[in-house]
Symmetry: C2
Subunit: 320 residues, 2 copies
DNA sequence: CTGAAAGCGCTTACAG
DNA sequence: CTGAAAGCGCTTACAG
């Protein structure tokens, strides 16, 4: 019953011969005393803590953060790690402090997540020297690996949904394209796919990515006589404002106007008839970030994008 | 420059006299080497990790989990702790395993959160011996301290909103009261307050706490000629289904029917005109759970409830 | 086959 | 005023 023997038995190591007898005695004692390994001692000894830090800009305010965390949590569990989380809201001071704290605790890696919106961020200098992966954001200087949604593909899928339903004319886009990351890519994917089918976007109704802004923009536009057949909303909040404006004008979805939205998982659950949307797989994104971070080799500073998913609703009319 | 001296200087301890000279040299060296304390070593030495475990049933699926986490995270930071989170989804096996893992890591305490719904839970035996607090749920056997919303007060506030607006008759409740925890308390608070004003609930439209169930129940009810003046929805999803049914019947909110909902922060952001609701302060709940857990004395196995908050919308008509 | 010893990075009585 | 020593609970060369 020496520490050495106990350690070897408890860790099931077979690179050293142990007698059946000693083996049994250790097992018995462990069971009797309900022995549990003390991770803090192990952490010190091995300089690894089986934990990954997860920094998030905003935890409250939407359901994205929860989904990112859920995916990350599952991926961490799969490799026997635990998640150490901190909310960064409150300025760069908080961010740096949290990173340092996590480093002090010897986390094996850090995921930096943007839940508010897919964006380009300046990475904190405190992250230097850490194994780190960005989640739902990219580094302005592309200095870190990142996992983001494939917005270009999202635009393409939205176009595909409309084309499949037979739409060819009077298709408009709602939402400005000048948001940092997602907008231009979604719009580009959309127009490219339509181009390829010989179809043109009839126009863009510009508005901020907010419910009220979209509502007012679309209402005003309809009020002056616009009669689109289909609208592609570049964002979920835009989709909701658009929806309300369409109803407000006494028009029906999808009979009068078809609507398809990108990244609208949440609002899609609150309207009737159900909204057809192209959704960002946030849970999946969280999962992949942790896998990338903790994968065997050091992850290259590249941007990994995950395909979006079509959620079939009832807001797109079959033409003809 | 002995370890003893260094330790005393670095920890700013004044219960031992240190020469100015030694003090300076330690500070200099620390700055030059960018010394950072190794928490894993400290953890082992002090048997305390300045971290609190947070177990949650579901992280994805709604915005409640994120809000609970946000509050917990802030409270943890305030006392210099970090949050170690795990998602329990996946059965009791996962739950026990996560608790053990957290215990192995010597977390200073564990918060067990129910994000799916305020509920009564059977606490895992693995939690025995841990300092623990329940969040948004109570133990069936009341064996652990818990922080929950004050649903009774929520019902009272909903009544108050309607009374303040001059409502006295034709007030109905939507949603069954036979949900585990929240339903009966909300209904009781509501009727008590109305009773006190000499007003009666005209009736209850029974339905599950789900959008579709509420929609169908209210639609059918309105179809056979019911013409309520005001509806109190016992839950957010119920409120949304109710709203859709009212619109479906060609009635206007609030001109024809006033609606006030309890725990409807999320859907309230998606309807027009804005929904008046009595909301659960989930962020606050998360904050209090951590404070209770890590407060100086061992928390008593009582249920602590936090008051709800009225969110003024435009869905309640001023009568007369 | 098994045990004594060192060491992970800290803190803290204790003895100068 | 300062340093040598022990010890937190583990693992792992190393020597029997």
């Amino acid at each position: 019953v020496s520490p050495t023997t106990a350690s070897y038995v408890l860790n099931g190591r077979d690179d050293m011969r142990i007698s059946k007898e000693a083996h049994r005695r250790v097992q018995d004692a462990a069971a009797r005393l309900r022995y549990r390994q003390n991770r803090t001692a192990l952490n010190l000894r091995t300089k690894t803590t089986k934990s990954v830090g997860l920094l998030c800009d905003f935890l409250a305010g939407g359901r994205v953060a929860g989904q990112l965390l859920s995916g990350a949590s599952v991926a961490a569990r799969a490799i026997d790690h635990l998640l150490v989380v901190g909310e960064v809201a409150g300025g760069p001071g908080v961010e740096d402090a949290l990173i340092e704290e996590m480093a002090d605790r010897q986390v094996d890696g850090i995921v930096y997540a943007a839940a508010a919106a897919t964006s380009a961020v300046r990475v904190s200098r405190a992250l230097a020297g850490q194994r780190a992966v960005l989640l739902n954001c990219v580094a302005q200087d592309r200095s870190l690996p990142a996992v983001v949604p494939d917005d270009h593909d999202g635009g393409r899928l939205a176009a595909q949904v409309l084309l499949d339903a037979g739409h060819r004319t009077e298709m408009y886009v709602v939402g400005s394209a000048d948001t940092p990351v997602a907008g231009p890519a979604r719009l580009a994917g959309l127009t490219e796919r339509l181009d390829r089918a010989g179809v043109e976007v009839a126009g863009v109704v510009a508005c901020d990515w907010a419910v009220l802004s979209a509502f007012e923009a679309v209402r005003g536009w309809l009020a002056v006589g616009a009669r689109p057949r289909a609208l592609v909303c570049l964002d979920g909040r835009v989709a909701l404002g658009t929806w309300q404006a369409v109803e407000d004008a006494g028009l029906r979805v999808p009979a009068d106007i078809s609507i398809v939205a990108i990244d609208a998982d949440e609002p899609a659950q609150w309207v009737r008839p159900t909204l057809t949307s192209v959704d960002v797989p946030y849970v999946e994104l969280g999962r992949r970030a942790v896998q990338l971070l903790m994968g065997s080799e050091e992850p290259p500073a590249r941007v990994f994008s995950a395909p979006m998913r079509v959620r079939q609703g009832a807001s797109v009319n079959a033409e003809r």
